[in-house]
Amino acid sequence: MQLPLLASTFATVFLAELGDKTQLAIVTISGTSSRSGAVFAGSSAALVLASLLGAGAGGSLSAVIPADALQLAASVGFLVIGTRLLLKAGQESEPEG
């Protein structure tokens, strides 16, 4: 079994992920929702599917998917979640505010 390849991929991806924006998003969503099971399931499914596409398509993936457009969409997603959180926090302190 090609353990070195498995281990090197694990290490590379794990280190790349640590502190990556995706993980920050996961920490944020999990911290502000009491449903950490759903957050774990959602993030794992998304990450595995993304790596399935990546590993499967190999080099051709970067030509196929519009990475920048996806990143723009992701940034909108982050902004929406962030604004919702701030509104929620604001509501709790001054309900009429």
Partner: protein, 127 residues
């Protein structure tokens, strides 16, 4: 109203609190499906658009063993998302909810702006 203090569940077993009377708790805290979908979409978009992730996965192109790379990458991603979720849970127990929400909101907006700027810069390169 007091946030239902869920006792620390073992992280591996998925939350199984779909009992009928929990439905009001579910509505209040956002149903499992809603949180799952929000997390899935956000993380999927961010991850697929992430060039470093693609670079890491191009190992498979060179090694010619996509299955192994996929297994290695998935294990790494699942462990890193577990770390993220547990960190989030710990934060939610250490920080007052309102303060955590404000901090989290600011962080997400900062991330969103940074991501948007990066995407915009590479889509419309300033000559």
């Amino acid at each position: 109203m007091a946030e239902p203090s869920d006792e620390p569940k073992p992280p591996t077993s998925p939350e199984a609190d779909a009992s009928p009377e929990a439905s009001n708790a579910a509505d209040k805290a956002g149903s499992f499906g809603a949180v799952f979908l929000t997390t899935f979409t956000t993380v999927f978009l961010a991850e697929l658009g992430d060039k470093t992730q693609l670079a890491a996965l191009l190992l498979s192109a060179e090694s010619g063993r996509p299955v192994l790379v996929f297994v290695g990458a998935s294990l790494a991603l699942i462990s890193s998302s577990l770390v993220g979720v547990l960190l989030g849970r710990w934060l939610s127990r250490v920080l007052p909810p309102q303060q955590l929400e404000r901090l989290a909101g600011i962080l997400m907006i900062a991330l969103g702006l940074w991501l948007g700027r990066q995407a915009a810069m590479s889509m419309f390169p300033l000559v």
